[in-house]
């Protein structure tokens, strides 16, 4: 006979505290999985993810790739008959995973870009030229043209420990 895994209420409690307060309302109907555009293309099953979070199966959840296949489209969230705030649960779990060092390289790059420049996309010479041709200010009137504003954004990253967080993963 296969051995059953023991639930870990301690981890479930952490998920609840991190913003997944509705996780225990799920009664496993599967409406979420049936609505999920990502699950249609992959083996990701959001119902199972919620169940694992509910039972506190930390080791099944935090390192898993499934956690990162959700596009945050909110379809499941809208349709869940139990009012489970599924996207909030996924966000809580992802924040916990990142704190454990689970962060994919492309995500680390995106995070570095915003913490250094305040934007998720770079400003290239060709962008400036095109903006000029369209009659727009070559450099957008954002942190790109305001060093003091950029300092504030960087400072927020420091205070929140964001730079350390993204440097610390594997």
């Amino acid at each position: 006979m296969a051995e059953a895994k023991e639930p870990n209420p301690e981890f479930t409690r952490k998920v609840v505290e991190a913003g997944g307060k509705t996780v225990n309302l799920c009664f496993q109907c599967g409406t979420c999985t049936g609505s999920c555009p990502s699950g249609r293309q992959t083996a990701f099953r959001v119902r199972k993810l919620v169940r694992r979070a509910q039972l506190g199966f930390e080791e099944d959840v935090l390192p898993s790739d499934d956690l990162w296949l959700c596009t945050t489209c909110f379809t499941c969230y809208e349709r869940c008959p139990r009012g489970v705030e599924i996207v909030d649960i996924i966000m809580a779990l992802r924040n916990m995973a990142v704190r454990k060092g689970y962060m994919a390289e492309p995500h680390r790059k995106v995070a570095e870009l915003i913490s250094k420049t305040g934007h998720l996309v770079s400003l290239r010479d060709e962008d400036k030229a095109l903006r000029g041709r369209l009659g727009l200010q070559n450099t957008p009137p954002t942190v790109f043209s305001d060093p003091k504003a950029l300092e504030q954004v960087k400072k927020i990253g420091e205070i929140c420990g964001f730079d350390k967080l993204i440097a610390g993963g594997k």
Binding site: S38, T71, I114, V153, K155
Partner: protein
């Protein structure tokens, strides 16, 4: 004339600046004054950045709200991602004094003014429908050419609907109504309302999975005879535009609503910035 802080975000000003120039012209034509939010940053993106650290995400967003607060205006965005982050953070901070206190402590340490909790965030489709009005759009539209359009709402414009309360999340109509007022026919298609595939960090981490979702939508749009895809979000726009170039099929031109309206209002075509589109626009 109604006045709003124009929140630029990242993808529009840097990859599709034609959406920015079109928005400025179209809003001006409709009597909406846009003022630049000097020193604004990334919203930050609701999928990726919120996934990494929600406190950081909320604090950077709050700094953007403080810029609007200082200007004494509400915020206008033409991007579902920026809308989701700024709307949701404003909603949280405007209603939850405890959370506002926590975020204000971080802002203060970073040399940013306190956020007082009074800024509202608007999505331009909702503004066009509710404030400007469909008839005002119709009155300006000279040529829509009767094209058939697949209207892509995206996810974060209407959802989560419990806080956004803009339109029915399952069967919305306001975006279609504006497109039709511009003289374009909005065609029904299978699974309309489905995610483009790019959100939540999926495009960055597993682009192949994102593209599979995009492809399914494209097949449904093509089957309905769509001659153009109309979006209201530069990130969905990027996913459909670059996605078709990558797939090397379909070839359905992609227009942001601002560009479609620009076209319908008879703006100078050079102002629409269509030459950077990877899927050729010959409309």
């Amino acid at each position: 004339m109604a006045k709003y802080g124009f929140f630029l975000g990242c993808i529009m000003p840097l990859r599709y600046p034609g959406i920015e120039s079109s928005t400025r012209e179209v809003m001006d034509a409709l009597g909406v004054e846009l003022v630049d939010m000097q020193g604004a940053s990334c919203c930050p993106a609701p999928g990726v950045m919120r996934s990494f650290d929600q406190t950081y995400w909320m604090s950077v967003a709050a700094r953007n709200l403080v810029i609007a607060q200082k200007m004494g205006v509400d915020v206008l965005t033409i991007c579902n991602g920026c809308f989701d982050t700024l709307f949701e953070v404003a909603h949280k901070l405007n209603h939850d004094p405890e959370m506002r206190k926590k975020v204000n402590k971080i802002l203060k340490e970073a040399g940013v003014d306190e956020y007082q909790g009074n800024v509202n965030v608007r999505h331009f489709v909702e503004l066009l429908y509710k404030d400007v009005g469909v008839e005002a759009v119709r009155a300006k539209a000279k040529s829509g050419k009767g094209m058939k359009a697949a209207v892509h709402y995206g996810c974060h414009f209407l959802k989560p609907s419990n806080i956004k309360k803009i339109d029915d999340a399952e069967r919305p109509h306001i975006f279609d109504d504006i497109v039709e007022a511009a003289g374009v026919t909005s065609v029904p298609f299978k699974d309309k309302g489905t995610c483009c595939g790019a959100g939540g960090g999926v495009r960055a981490r597993t682009p192949d999975v994102a593209l599979k979702m995009t492809k399914e939508n494209l097949m449904n749009m093509q089957a309905a005879g769509a001659e153009v895809i109309v979006d209201c979000c530069p990130f969905c726009h990027l996913q459909y535009d670059a996605g078709q170039a990558q797939l090397k099929e379909f070839g359905i031109p992609v227009l942001h609503l601002s560009q479609l309206l620009g076209m319908a209002f008879g703006l100078d075509k050079a102002k629409l910035g269509l030459e950077v589109h990877q899927t050729k626009v010959n409309l």
